[in-house]
Amino acid sequence: MGRPSESDSGKTPYDFGGTWIPSPLEINRRAARKSRNRRNALIAISSSVVVIGGLILIAVTSPGWKSLSDTFFAWAYGVEVLPKIILGFGTNVALTLIASSCVATLGLSIALIRTSRSPALAPFRILATLYVDVFRGIPMLLVILLVGFGIPALRIQGLTNNVLILGTLAVVITYTAYVAEVIRSGILTIHPSQRAAARSLGLSHFQSLRYVVLPQAFRRVTPPLLNDLVALIKDTGLVSILGVTDAVRAAQIASSRSFNYTPYVMAAIVFLLVTIPLTRFTDRTLRRSIERQNATGVA
């Protein structure tokens, strides 16, 4: 079987892997769709240029622009302090990595305790609920202050006074409460019939959880967990209040020395370089997980 259009016109406009050639009706429809898409793209581009360009123009021509840009956008000075800020940001990254692995483990444990029904775990269930309620309801800054200044004030031998460790501890305490709730809600959205099916196959309670419930729950909560990760990265900046030399603190030191706020802007840019890609990634994961859930509408 040959394709007539191949030998006739040299190149087929559409390759469908068969001998089917779209009818004139379909070809017209495609052409119309294409021209409409082109028109929409043109409108989107021109309206963006007008709006964004206009806003920039207003800012730059305003009377205060000169002093504003000197105070916040002194690029030469910014580049000068950048190495210190990046060095400080290393602390934020390390803190994020350590805290997030602790949070993942503890959050999962608390979620499992709260969703368990075993009578032996009853006291732990109550404690876990209390813990989650309390630490989701306190501003994290307060937790950092309480842990960071409160624990050293106890003067207990053997307890650390290291602000980095105490800061990390405070972050872990707060985020574990958030993450435990996210995971718990994921577990609760898995229909009981899935567990019943697993149990009726002879899988134990733990095996049903491990092989059937949790894998499905994790897929559902991946997007909100990634959101929490982005928030965690930002919030590590709060431990600077304890004197930890992170990116925020490094910027603060540089800024107070020169009475110029460009270091803060530089620190913000450094954070954005990490958080924006992660946010985009989260968005894509979310879209994909919605598509997948729509595909599995039945059963």
């Binding site: 019939s193 009726s200 095996q207 499905q216 897929r219």
Partner: protein, 249 residues
């Protein structure tokens, strides 16, 4: 007389003040199929759930191979290992491929090696014409194919007794047949079964005994011919009449 696989004695089950099952007694000899018929809400699903220990009974007893599985110290996991159940709504695990759905219990519950489990799973898939679906996820399968996978999954652990709860009621008429022929094959191979169904034609083909359940009681029982062709109780007659009008006989 040899011991029956399943023996239910004076079972009673209620939800709150609503008595769903009352004075249910029957036994299922090895290699036979007992079919429960009855209108919606008569308690068929509840009965199967009780046998599988997914629900707790209020009174009476259930014996599996002579062992009281409703005893307080009965090992629930061990009992379930001897029972297979297939639900109306398939309940396949959506995050696992067909082959993994089938091999999960043999591997994790029976401790069979992955290779051996996969090999026997493929054999089963082959036999029921689903070989090329092994590496697909359940949502890529038709309803009839999903239900057949669910059946294969429950027989992969070689259960002593298979419980089938209206396994075709979520399917189109065309898909019903492929699922029913799968069950017929199992019957021929000697699987002992308890079924709940609305398909009277099918009941006639596979059943050794038919029980008519009405408001939670077994009102009439006997061979398929006795119950489906010359019922004695007026309620059974009326039920069959309604089924007949719905065109399912």
């Amino acid at each position: 007389m040899t011991q029956p696989v399943l023996e239910v004695k004076q079972l009673r089950k209620s939800y709150g003040s609503e008595v769903v099952l009352e004075d249910i007694s029957f036994s299922v000899p090895v290699h036979t199929a007992t079919v429960f018929i009855g209108s919606s809400g008569s308690g068929k699903s509840t009965l199967l759930r009780c046998i599988n220990l997914l629900d707790q009974i209020d009174d009476g007893s259930i014996e599996l191979d002579g062992e009281d599985i409703t005893a307080v110290d009965a090992d629930v996991d061990k009992v379930r290992r001897k029972l297979g159940i297939v639900f109306q709504s398939f309940n396949l695990f959506p995050h696992m491929k067909v082959i993994d759905n089938i091999t999960l219990a043999p591997m994790k519950v029976q401790g069979i090696s992955k290779e051996v489990a996969r090999e026997s799973a493929y054999k089963l898939l082959d036999r029921f014409g689903l070989h090329d679906k092994a590496e697909d996820y359940p949502d890529r399968l038709s309803g009839g194919q999903q239900q057949r996978v669910a059946i294969i999954r429950s027989i992969a652990v070689a259960p002593r007794l298979l419980l089938l709860d209206e396994i075709t009621s979520a399917l189109d008429p065309v898909l019903v047949n492929e699922v029913l022929s799968t069950v017929r094959d199992l019957k021929i191979e000697g699987m002992t079964m308890v079924l709940a169904t609305h398909e009277m034609g099918f009941a006639k083909q596979v059943a050794d005994e038919v029980c008519f359940l009405h408001h939670g009681k077994i009102l009439e029982w006997g061979t398929p011919e006795q119950i489906l062709e010359s019922p004695k109780q007026p309620e059974t007659k009326e039920f069959l009449q309604r089924v007949h009008e719905a065109g399912r006989l």
